[in-house]
Symmetry: C2
């Protein structure tokens, strides 16, 4: 399970094996840079593992078949075979893979305009071989759609991981950076294999010890990590404490307009870049959930971010500034304040005031990584500010890697969402790619789900979320089905039954999880603090701005302009109108946007209350039918260790889904007194 | 505030001062034992502080007026003046105080049959002087009603206190026993002043470090504490870990019937008594909330307790075994299991099987220190087993020393409760005193509310709970009013206005707190874990067996024999019949015993739902009217520091009581849809 999708199992099909061996006995390149060396090493290792013979590596071809790695325009073999029109199609960090079949020579070209592109091409080539594709007539040009493809780690230096469900940090232990770099190298391989090009190694909540990561005490070790990642084309970033000048004992202020503070950060940037010449920059959570920030000094987010941006600018660094800013001391009695509006209200007025090496990082929904949310109106709403989306791979509210909840379909919905900005069709993925607003920086970020568990992600099937995020960051046009197919084939088997079964399980899992948890987009019915398990009123009388307001008559938050909080006005006119009208509002978001009586008839003809009961019973039944029974059918077809491990998790999921079903149904039954039409057991 | 009720303020009334000085210029005794020395020191210090002159201490009278301390039957002055009939009325540790007015001599006798009695007499004498009583014609015989008058500390050796709301432990710091013994001496004085004669210094949840308290590593320091307490007549006890033989690395079992385990505890007892010859014994929480116990070995509580009792018996030690045993992994869907029944179900079948140096310690109610519970049927239900009640002075569920909640009236209700055992009138206090069943050991225990805060109890007025518990343990026949009067006079002032005001505040406070928290005995509507603040469903879907089962129709747990869990059958027939019938069940316990529709008419004529609304509005109003406004009237009449401190707490209470009011009212309004008849604000 440790190898994830880079298993490189030995090819069993003899014919295929022969065809692969014919083309893959030699790797030719005249490049010896670290990144190309990584590509060579991965190819060597992968081919040896799959084919049983180690390819030779040479500067020039020694036989009649080989794999050629090189930079477009700088390699005579490649330039001879790749047309100018093809070259033009290969963008920065993209690649072309092409099988050349000549009389005397048959070889495969993996070429790019950059070293990273060669590495990505190598991984892609290995992916296709793992999927047992024909390579005799290979032809592919593939480019990354998003410039920034970043992973955020919420790792603390004591080794804990905030919202981590897969063991301890692979970076930190006992307030030090770990010694063993093998695992980190393997992690860098996994990242590069799906095209991730940035990693933030520490938690956005920067505590006391982590504040010192940007000091001499730790920078040498951080530079060691940066080197490993660099070899795989991954840039290292750090989360910083906005109050660092104070916390580190140098100044008595962190005011971004104070000259001493500006100078302090300039000096600090210079110091960091001495250790890490290609340091990516800072990720900042400021003035959010009790973290320090520019508000303390009467400054705004633009003041705060720009000051850091000026310090990093001479070195090419960027500031990624999170938009997760809201009133976390709300009075539950206050029905006017709407947390959903907070990010937009805070940042939209600042649109255009940020330097061009500042990027705002916006959670995909307006609340916080619930199982179902509308897309944040700030994405695309910012017309003159670089921004990236923030997804959450780690399953904080989506089952904590005990429940199977494959998030690729959710992310796809977000990416394909049509914002209708300016009255035209403009999808989120177009905005994120930077093509719509012509942003200098844009792309995607996501919070990692990995830890030092042997299988990386706690639940082995949660590896698919890690994989899927990377693939979507590279190419958001990929379908959920094709990503899933790739992952299952590489991780388990190319056997049809296995591929079909696991693909099905993954693809229905989000829907199943949604069914037995909170209904129709209302969210938040979880235990406070750890966020696991059902608790309908868990946040209802709390200060976090997350309320369902269920009473005897109905449930939901009216966020319309007409009669509610007015949140819908943050969207384009066309989208606003859809959400504003209960008849056109997508039903899966019904309770997010509207307050609805239990007797309300859904399009299916069932009432809201009956829908709640139905989905909760169905969800649990599906855990049994669509997950457990299906999985049991794989006995003997996949490795026993994996089989048993996943079955154990699925059985836990079943128990916990029953808890969800019974608590939610009981809560609403007790509140409404309305019986289930099918007389199923409610307590 | 540090001095609590041992303030010994200088007497301002000149006439009174003169009369006091006349009689108190000399202390006469021929005894020089530690306990009598403590009495002398307290008198010397108290008199000097109140009168401004230090009394002489001598072996024989040197003038015509003095205070004489001595043992009845062993002191010629005393024996001359105290009649045989009077002597007979003085029981062990009781005392007589008598003013002798002769032609040539006027003196006060403080005498007892024991040294402790002399100490208690001295404190009583000082109490009366602080209350400005006439001592020219003093005559009092006073005896302790309960043999055991114990304080339990839930202190951990890291300095934390489980359910502590007044700072850190005064005994432990950083896994050591503290060095500074001054504070502990003052604590011993406070204990002795109200007649407490036993102290358990560590938490019943005995963690790793605390397990080692009974080893050489700590016993020397424990002996140091024991000496301080001994000088004030207080016996030291330790909470022990039932699995000590394993935890301390000596055996691989703690099976109470295993000879090696028996011998281990015998050796351990011998070792402890070498250090502390008058060691009290062990307090044990076993097989409760995940603590180890005899169940592991298929043995019962009697097996477990008796084995320890045999080890302590040769040294006169006792085993205090807690009855707080229940299923803490209950499924909320299970409506058959009733936690209220657990203590009785666990221990009643073992009645008569315990050795006579085992005492069962029973929480006052069947659940766990809620603001309102019926009396545990195990008290008195055990006919052939020593038992003590366990009260909780520390305000876990009663406002955590932020809310004013004077518990003496609650304890009085418990003590005065008529169990009707055997069809006769038998109050709890009669049972606890040992007089009813002629127990070898009996009495009262309570969990301390003190810590190292400057004022000991966090909220200064919470000192009254500490005082009141001690006074009731000494004499449960004292009225709430008289205890309150004593405490206010000693702590604040003898001024009528101050006495009346603070007494009123204290005496109404429990009722106020009850009004705005959980209604009619149902309990548990608190935030899980820390137990502060309202959360109606906080424990509703949890595993602790604490459910209100509110639905659209009604609320409450049917614990009747007729149609419910059958809990009422644990009481005597007469009491059972009262609780069984909704018409005779005391209304303050209505929802504890019955499931009741919201439309149910209470005796007042209001419906249940309207009663909930009314009491919650009233409770908050009373915080303003009966507490804050009253207190504000004391400005200038008490020390400013106290005034401001208490006002600050009261203002916090007001805010938090509003939170209680609004959450509870809103919860029920949303659940029932029934409006408040007075149209007050519900959210």
């Amino acid at each position: 399970m440790y190898r994830c999708w880079l298993r490189y199992d030995k090819i069993k099909n003899k014919e295929l094996m022969d065809s692969y061996i014919r083309l893959c006995s030699q790797i030719v390149t005249d490049m010896y840079t670290p990144i190309v060396n990584s590509a060579k090493a991965e190819l060597t290792n992968g081919l040896f593992s799959m084919l049983g013979t180690k390819p030779n590596i040479s500067k020039t071809p020694r036989g009649s078949s080989f794999i050629m790695l090189g930079i477009l325009g700088k390699n005579e073999y490649i330039d001879r075979e790749i047309l100018e029109s093809e070259k033009e199609k290969v963008c920065k960090d993209g690649y072309i893979i092409k099988t050349i079949d000549k009389e005397k020579e048959r070889f495969i070209i993996i070429a790019s305009k950059t070293e990273k592109g060669i590495l990505y091409g190598a991984f892609a080539f290995l992916r296709f071989m793992q999927m047992q594709r024909d390579i005799d007539n290979f032809y592919l040009i593939d480019n990354p759609h998003n410039p920034l493809r970043i992973i955020n780690h919420w790792d603390n230096m004591d080794g804990s991981i905030e919202r981590g469900y897969a063991g301890k940090s692979i970076f930190f232990e006992k307030n030090k950076i770990v010694n063993n770099m093998d695992r980190i190298t393997d992690y860098a391989r996994l990242l590069a294999s799906v095209g991730i090009n940035g990693v933030v190694i520490n938690n956005v909540n920067v505590h006391q010890t982590e504040t010192r990561l940007i000091t001499k005490e730790y920078l040498k070790d951080v530079a060691g990590l940066a080197e490993i990642f660099r070899n795989y084309g991954v840039t290292l970033y750090l989360s910083i404490n906005y109050a660092s000048p104070i916390e580190l004992g140098d100044l008595d202020t962190a005011d971004p307009l104070d000259e001493r503070v500006k100078q302090w950060w300039k000096d600090k940037a210079e110091e960091i870049y001495e250790y890490i010449p290609d340091f990516g920059g800072f990720l900042v959570k400021a003035d959010s959930e009790f973290r320090p920030g520019p508000f303390t000094y009467g400054r705004n987010h633009a003041d705060g971010a720009n000051m850091l941006a000026e310090a990093l600018e001479p070195f090419g660094g960027i500031v990624i500034w999170r938009c997760f800013v809201y009133n976390c001391l709300q009075d539950w009695r206050d029905t006017k304040t709407d947390r959903a509006k907070a990010a937009y209200d805070n940042f939209k007025p600042l649109d255009g005031l940020f330097h061009d090496n500042v990027i705002l990082q916006i959670k995909n929904g307006p609340m916080d990584f619930q199982v179902r949310e509308p897309v944040s109106p700030l994405i695309g709403g910012l017309e003159n500010t670089n921004h990236v989306v923030e997804f959450q791979i780690t399953q904080e509210y989506t089952g904590q890697q005990i429940h199977l909840c494959y998030l690729v379909p959710m992310w796809k919905e977000v990416l394909d969402f049509d914002t209708r900005i300016g009255g035209k069709s403009v999808t989120v993925k177009e905005i994120l790619s930077g093509s719509f607003y012509k942003n200098k920086y844009s792309g995607m970020a996501a919070v990692a789900n990995i830890g030092n568990d042997a299988n990386w992600t706690g639940h082995q099937l949660a590896q698919a979320n890690f994989y899927g995020y990377g693939r979507l960051a590279w190419n958001p046009d990929l379908s959920s089905e094709s990503i899933t197919d790739e992952w299952v084939r590489m991780t388990f088997s190319n056997e049809k039954d296995v591929v079909d079964t696991i693909s099905h399980m993954l693809l229905v899992s989000w829907s199943i999880y949604e069914k037995y948890t909170t209904p129709l987009g209302i969210g938040w019915m979880v235990n406070p603090g750890h966020h696991y398990g059902p608790n309908v009123d868990g946040y209802e009388y709390d200060k976090w701005g997350t309320y369902h307001r269920a009473d005897i008559h109905g449930i939901g938050v009216d966020r319309t302009v007409k009669s509610g909080t007015g949140y819908t006005a943050q969207y384009s006119k066309e989208v606003m109108e859809i959400y504003e009208d209960i008849n056109t509002c997508p039903e899966e978001l019904l309770l997010f946007f509207h307050r609805v009586p239990y007797s309300y008839k859904l399009k299916s003809g069932t009432t809201l209350i009956q829908h709640i009961y139905n989905t909760h019973f169905e969800g649990v039944e599906q855990v049994e039918e669509d997950l457990i029974k299906k999985w049991q059918g794989l006995k003997g077809k996949i490795e026993e260790e994996s089989f048993n491990h996943v079955l154990e998790r699925l059985n836990m999921q079943l128990e916990h889904s029953k808890e969800w079903r019974d608590v939610i149904n009981t809560y609403f039954y007790r509140k409404t007194g309305i019986k289930d039409q099918l007389n199923r057991k409610i307590y």
